[in-house]
Symmetry: C2
Amino acid sequence: VAKNGPVRVALMGAGVVGGGVARILTEKRAVYEQQLGRPLLLSHALVRDPSKPRAPYVADLITTDPDAILSDPDVDIVVEVIGGEEPALRYITQALKAGKHVVTANKEVMAKHSQHLLSLARDRGVDILYEASVGGGIPIIAPLKRDLLANEIESISAIINGTTNYILTAMSREGADFANALKQAQELGYAEANPANDVEGEDARFKLAILASLSFRCQVRPEDIYREGITRLSARDFRYASELGYAIKLLALAKQVEGGVQARVHPALLPQDAPLAKVDGVLNAVQVEADLTGLVLFSGPGAGSFPTTSAVIADVLDAAQSVIGGRREIHGETKRPTSIVPVGSWLTRFYIRLTVPDRPGVLAQITRVLGDAQISISSIIQKETDLDAKTAELVIMTHEAPEASMQSALEELDKLDVVQEIGNFIRVEG
Amino acid sequence: VAKNGPVRVALMGAGVVGGGVARILTEKRAVYEQQLGRPLLLSHALVRDPSKPRAPYVADLITTDPDAILSDPDVDIVVEVIGGEEPALRYITQALKAGKHVVTANKEVMAKHSQHLLSLARDRGVDILYEASVGGGIPIIAPLKRDLLANEIESISAIINGTTNYILTAMSREGADFANALKQAQELGYAEANPANDVEGEDARFKLAILASLSFRCQVRPEDIYREGITRLSARDFRYASELGYAIKLLALAKQVEGGVQARVHPALLPQDAPLAKVDGVLNAVQVEADLTGLVLFSGPGAGSFPTTSAVIADVLDAAQSVIGGRREIHGETKRPTSIVPVGSWLTRFYIRLTVPDRPGVLAQITRVLGDAQISISSIIQKETDLDAKTAELVIMTHEAPEASMQSALEELDKLDVVQEIGNFIRVEG
């Protein structure tokens, strides 16, 4: 398998990340050649539109024909930075089948197809590496694969979407409402014109599927992950949470519990002194709880072309070592049967915000509903009495209760005459 | 180089970490065998005192003769968890010369001899791995070697001594003075009976030497690193720092600057919202600033037998892959000439605490001395006036100034009649 001469790398996609990879591979060519003992040469750059102006690093390598790469036996490593499910998945599959190592930044493909692609790669004796698919430049995939290998991973808690974390940080600091914070994020380029993929938690779900599948050595698919976005959070939730000593974050959480894996993406109240509560703005952080090493936190810029480029190139250098010295395989992908526990069985605490008439007897009715559902209350605070409307806002914090009990209690509360509105309910973690 | 049959691992040292390694290797034998495709067998456990009671995992493997390991051609990997410079260095050297891979948790040996041992290992075609020498179970050595390989590392800022961080956290939270906080740490087992190695910054210096040598690809020796311990910090420094918006930490800092490398371990004021300022108690954290990936932070438990065991075993599994599939080498150790910039050329801000008479004209004399040294002041706050003694305490925060100017200004201040005492001076970072 070992070979002499240069290691050839083909780019599929020459957008911001692809251009960055080409630039760094060119500018640091001498350094990488010294590190590897062989030159690392960029051989192709696949694009859809050849008429677009390109950086000088890729201009001479442009092709619009994927087969120019996939059928070229001299190409050792394919770097897929096209994004989206197709045609990226098809190209990656063909590259692996052709015995090429693949480096990808594609969270959607890896979230949906990692088990299949990893086993295809193993069969063909090549690597598929995907450090850049989660957490930008934060090393997280490789540490999970290598450094924490001696451990049984118990849980992953993460803030892995910079757009929503930017919005939530602005809502928290400035008292902004969701729409204004989103607009600000869009103006600064932190949110897309169509932000649904981020604010509805879909992006975080892809990334959590990748982390959970790797950590628990089973297949956690995006659709196995409960998902709730940040659009129904209001400025007053942040105010009350802060008074109670909590931050609100879009939490991506996967843990091993009795009976299987629990995986979810939703807004959560976190105690202000929890490490993840302090991760602000566009930063990302992944907290891993493992049997031997305890709680370890990785944080840094979760997106951006340079950090992502850094992750892609680390993988390219790793793949190049496999090309040169032969592949080293740890059978970390050992499949376990996946069992996703039902949502109703989750145990969490809850924050509930209700609008009620400001008169005697109201609390008795509400606490009775919760009591009947076996949900015990840790605190009730009356907030923001509206003297004209004679209404008050109640914030209830509960002890741990099964999700199913909580959902039926919320239905019951909604039926009560004295409950004018269930303003919000947010799970509490940590 | 590849071999069939079991991979044999010999332990040198069977104390807390060695016992933990033996236990995990035994308990997780089936898992590791599946991951590696070969059994991983513990073959020896070198101890000094064979009469001590040992865990069942090592009891049958005890030897007091290092040559039983070093001369046994069947031993593939030597795990050195003796600690201290000798005889550990001698054993490691002999093991490498005998063509064995070495995994070590020894910060002193690696701080002083990493360049020599890495080049010896390279010559013999084996690995020397040392993840456990810094930061306990936090993956930091491997990410620096692999994941950040595409980057030029610009600086490393770290809290890498849990004992001192525990003490400083107690001083900050409880207003305790150093002696009481130390006593508390000793009672809880976080500080040794003779705490000098920790509180004087020697342990942090070893670890910083390892991180800086790896990051900057040159040899930064412990004696190249300026060192100042935490013993002269007082409760009032924490009070004033907190009022000014700062935390006080024992900072280990190495950075590339014009003319070479600057490396130092000393107490520092850090802005309260800086990530390292929030690392409390026995936690460790390493912040890496790199050209592509930006600021990345790794944090977690920096010591303890389980986290250290986790790091050792990750390295053992890595070395086992080299035994089985052949070694893969990245020539990351490329030596660069080391040039340590002189202390006097550092540029930092300063916090200075002075006791002065509470009368007119005092400030003019003090500001003149600083002005003559070209040090500009960012704020002066008068604190804690003592009405009986007619004295006041001044806290001066400066702008950036060269260390040499600051040191001579401090000498001049000390000569002034109006300066009764220089209570403390602490560098300000971040």
